[in-house]
Amino acid sequence: MAKSAWPAMGDRTVLGSRVSRLDGPIKTTGAAKYAYDQKLDGMLYGRFLIAPYAHGKIKSIDVSAAEAMKGVEVVQIIRNVGDEFLYAGDAIAALAATSEELAVDALDAIKVEYEILEHQMDDTTVDNVSGRVRTSEDGDVAAGFAEADIVHEGHYGVSPITHCCLESHGQVCEFKDGELWVWPSTQNVSGYADGLTKSSGLEASKIHVDCQVMGGGFGSKFGADQWGNVCTELAKAAGKPVKLMLERDQELMTAGARPSAHADVKVGLKKDGTITAWESNAWGSGGTGGAGRLQLPYVFGAIPNSKVGQGTIRTNRGSQRAWRAPGHPQSCLITMSALEDAAAEAGIDPLEFFKKNLDKLDVRLPNAENVYIEELDIAADLIGYKDKAHPRGDKTSGPIKRGLGMSMHTWGGAGHPSNADVVINPDGSVAVNCATQDLGTGARTALSIVVAETLGIPMDSVQANIGNNTLPPDNPSGGSTTIGGISSSSRDAATNALNAMFAKVASGLGVAADQLEARGGNVQEIGKPDNSMTWKKACALLGSNPIKGTGAKPTSDGTKLDNSQVGGCQMADVSVDIETGVVTINEMVAVQDIGTIINLKCAESQVHGALIMGVTYALYEEAIYDPITGKMLNADMEFYRLAGHADVGKLTVHMMQTEEHYSRGVIGLGEPPVISPGAAISNAVANAIGVRVPTLPLTPDRVLAALA
């Protein structure tokens, strides 16, 4: 009888190998149909009128001219007279028209008088902190600093950034025969319908959600949101399908941001590099939302004497949303920068310094000290640390200074609750069904791999169906939980299907069902290839009806297939032009432990993507708000800069793949590799130029200011 436990490391066929994404070709050729690509007969185009000021009230709003326009089918006022709005980009009204152009013209015809109110945009100064300040203290901080030979003080900051999903938020929907059909861009296929029950007036069971591919979420696409509901209301009122996807400017202003973070930090060190004390006063802004919780000091949470405080600044920007590893990149930047600065003041090599203080880790990763040591050593080898490392400040002549920097991170990544079923057809073909979504995990490919591995058949015999809420429900993709969830449920389902099949075909091989295994395209007596039949022949014995196995996480036989808690370290090799302040990446090295790997290629590509995203927020990315109007000045992709190929340098990824790592179970990888790049790059720049550029992104103006 097949068991759901993962095969021994040496007994894998496709699991853990490098498999190209099954939907890669349709994505790269443009054949893939995203929500944005849906075009239904008679479809109307929805648009929002958005607030041009950061804070105000509606004095008057007149939509009559828009309503009178031929082809404008529905106009909906969202903020009425007297209503207040708290950020530029917030929705004031919406409408649906027969063409996009007409919709834009109709928005222009809406007359709104605004009363402009005071706004707060600046989140860089602690003076603007309002409300509750969280504080905590461990040990004896005064004594810790008294004991120190070196007390380093510094300021560190991370500017607000957005999610900037390449596919904006929104959906296409259509009411038909008393039911609603929705094509959203979402990271929560199974839960999406629940958010539309009020606006549609329908039970969730009558709302059909389909999202086969999606263009980025990063934590910002969990719900139907205002735009999904407004789209539904417009479609209902018009009696026609409506497409409502956010325009780029609105996407950047309203559909998700990562909170800024700033901190004044004090670190105490002994001459030998031992950390004796930590004190930080941090603050940040999540716009109209909270600023999230920082973890300071990050990773080194067991520094003996520590005092931390964190306050929040409310600003008139769109609310923050979960951004890939919420709070971690900021906490990591603040901590690793401050510690590295302290080490530099003490004249200690940072690699040696970080290793020396690994007894002050506060992470839930088992055996963490050794994991980090091993990973730091691998990263150091890969980047050529011995040859390239130098004390702070590249002393070579010329304007180009080179430096190395490093950082460490941690994340949970346990699998989420998940359901799947696996259907074995009499013709030998197999389908795996799971209402998950592919946020970047390579979910479709992962399901195929797991089922092919379990059934001992080639991947092209397995059809993976995802992205539709009629399939067995899966949880939202958030917190790096998907791969642990769907690999468990699909393994469980495939195992159950296989055992059901064994029961039907065992007599054909003259053994009991529990004496069978599926391997190499055959069903055979365990360990006896001589007594076997082909997969096809076995399936033919099923009769005319397919058999189905259902599976879940947790699995039906109680085996835990996932795990949680990872480390990971990264090193950056940068060049800084000290005359222009321009930073270029020579190489980024990422070393990542992640338990059992389902698809090595997708895993590496997750890390590549994270490094590119990390280079972007380290060097370029910043939501710039106008102090006068409170509008986002760069709500476009011109001055809201994302790294391109020419900008990212060489990316080197090393996945930990020892027997010990493999035996841990499957752990999610979306978050961890995006945590360290900012800190590693900032440390590398400091190592190159001899001074800290306190705030990300490290743009030429900031670099030159630090050097001045």
């Binding site: 000021y53 013209d105 402009i116 302040g581 321009v582 710039i624 109007t629 476009d636 030429p700």
Partner: protein, 325 residues
Amino acid sequence: MKAFEYAAPGDLDDAIAMLSDAPGDSAVMAGGTDLVTSMKQGLVSPNRVVSLRNVKAINGIQEAGPDLRIGAATTLGELLGHSLVADLYPSITTAVKGIGSPQLMSVGTVGGDLLQAPRCWYYRNGMGLLADDAGAANFDGDSMAVEGDNRYHAIFDNKTAQFVSASSLAPALIALGANAVVRGPKKAEREIAVADLFRTPSSSDEREHVLKGNEVISHINIPASGAKNGTYEVRTRQGLDWPIVTASVAIASSGAKVVLGHVAPTPWVSDAAGKALGGKVDETSAAKAGEEAANGATPLSHNEYKVTLVKVAVKRAAMAAAAHG
């Protein structure tokens, strides 16, 4: 978008006859990379758009005796791919490469690069190009760029306007002494220095160039001077990005010319820097030229760093020019 008339005649004079001299009434479309976006954003709303795509006469690069005659509708990609341009004018090819986008290079034109509207983010957000524009009216007529975030704005000639000229090619062309052939109604033709195409508008009735609504650039003439030349751009990203500061230097036997981009509402000629370079370019004179070029800068609240960048860009452009040929 306001409904508009569209025509794409094959003859330049027919095209010009379709244009209006009233400001904003009609628009000339070359590659359309700026115009179409600006129309979609409501920044301009012409009643008529006249495309030059079918006007063959203003396409392509010709050797006119020792001079080079570049049709205004020549794409940036064609310019980059031209071997004579590459040999003689590295300052131009460096500027084109700096645009960094194959898409823009394949449709964007030489004339369009010169006459594109500024990238000032206050302007692009509908708040007008100058402090007297209607978009700024709700904020007590403050100049947005002076009071607000001006990290990318002008550091020279920034009293009445603070945006920066967006052209990538203008500094190189001006340093090389290029002229623009401007054609108007009734076959009227005049040839003016590329430098004289640009002006700092004094009111929102004026544009940042001197052409009337019914005038177009037909060609750019680059006189053969044998000048060694080079361009240096400071850009945040290596890929698609706007330069923060550009410098172009041309060194001829008669003397050197230094032109800056992205530092003033017009391309900015620094005679003092040119003098400092003289005919002999070395590290010392290049650095001196940089210092001279930065003299007289009046940075705003957030762009003092651009003064530093001017010094470096001029120095490096001069050294690039010296290394040419």
